[in-house]
């Protein structure tokens, strides 16, 4: 866990029941530099820095595993669906091409 980036896990709808399928979005503040762009002032190459891999883990089980390449926008958003299966924790782990690993988790409490 090198430096902590600003990230957010959003679940829609906010209140959900057990067994329901909900939308999960994961947002992170990341430059996603491709390594081919130049700084317009200094004309130096901006070194590549992009997210390589994103994993969604729910109660120790891997739900979604994404291999990411350069072509994602700055401050990327990843949205999928997820089936609620009891109380637990959703953990998102993301890895950088420079080896930076970060984690973000959110508690999941189904009602009813």
């Amino acid at each position: 866990m090198a430096d902590k980036r600003k990230s957010l896990i959003k679940i829609k709808p906010k209140k959900f029941k057990d067994g329901e399928v909900v939308k999960v979005s994961f947002m992170v503040m990341h430059p996603m530099a491709t390594g081919t762009t130049k700084n317009k002032k200094t004309k130096e190459l901006i070194p590549a820095k992009f997210i390589n891999n994103v994993k969604f883990n729910y109660n120790g089980k891997e739900i979604t595993n994404m291999t990411v390449w350069e072509a994602l926008s700055t401050n990327p958003v990843f949205t999928t669906y997820m089936k609620i299966n009891g109380k637990g924790k959703l953990t998102v782990t993301y890895t950088d091409n420079t080896g930076e690993v970060n984690e973000k988790s959110k508690k999941i409490k189904p009602k009813g």
Binding site: T67, V68, T79, Y81
Partner: protein
């Protein structure tokens, strides 16, 4: 420095900085080691199989993107998502980017719904496609062209 000289120099600086982005765009482009053409990307994913065009895959991309740096992409696949019949992976490809592969999403039945959405960068006007791998080994594809007014990958 005299006032006159100062303004002359200022003019030169302004002219150079206005032209510079054009030069850097047209000049020698640094190549990434991840560079991959569309055909090699498709064959790397499918392993030689030809993907079928299908109406089951719904790709939602704007037809005209004003800014190539942020293009929202949504892929929706009709699937029951049971343990015997589910969508294994969704790949988003951009044909003319230096690396055609944007993202590979590996799904499991625990997702409940085969849908993925994100925002990608496009270097210019090109075709965006969603390549879907089903659990029985079939590949489906949906393609749409996107017009980009300002490129995103300098």
């Amino acid at each position: 420095m005299q006032r006159r000289d100062f303004f002359k120099k200022l003019g030169v600086v302004a002219a150079v900085s206005a032209v510079a982005p054009v030069i850097s765009f047209a000049g020698d482009k640094p190549k990434s080691k991840n560079a991959m053409s569309y055909a090699t990307a498709v064959s790397a994913i499918t392993g030689g199989k030809t993907p079928k065009k299908s109406a089951k895959v719904k790709l939602k991309v704007p037809e005209i993107a004003e800014n190539g740096a942020v293009v929202p992409v949504t892929v929706n696949v009709e699937s029951p998502m049971t343990s015997s019949d589910y969508v294994k992976a969704i790949h988003i490809l951009a044909a003319k980017n230096f690396n055609s592969r944007c993202i590979d999403v590996n799904l499991t039945p625990a997702n409940g719904k085969a849908m993925f959405s994100t925002r990608i960068k496009l270097g210019g006007t090109q075709e965006v496609s969603a390549l879907v791998e089903l659990s029985n080994g079939d590949f489906l594809i949906a393609t749409q062209s996107v017009k980009v007014t300002i490129g995103g990958c300098g």
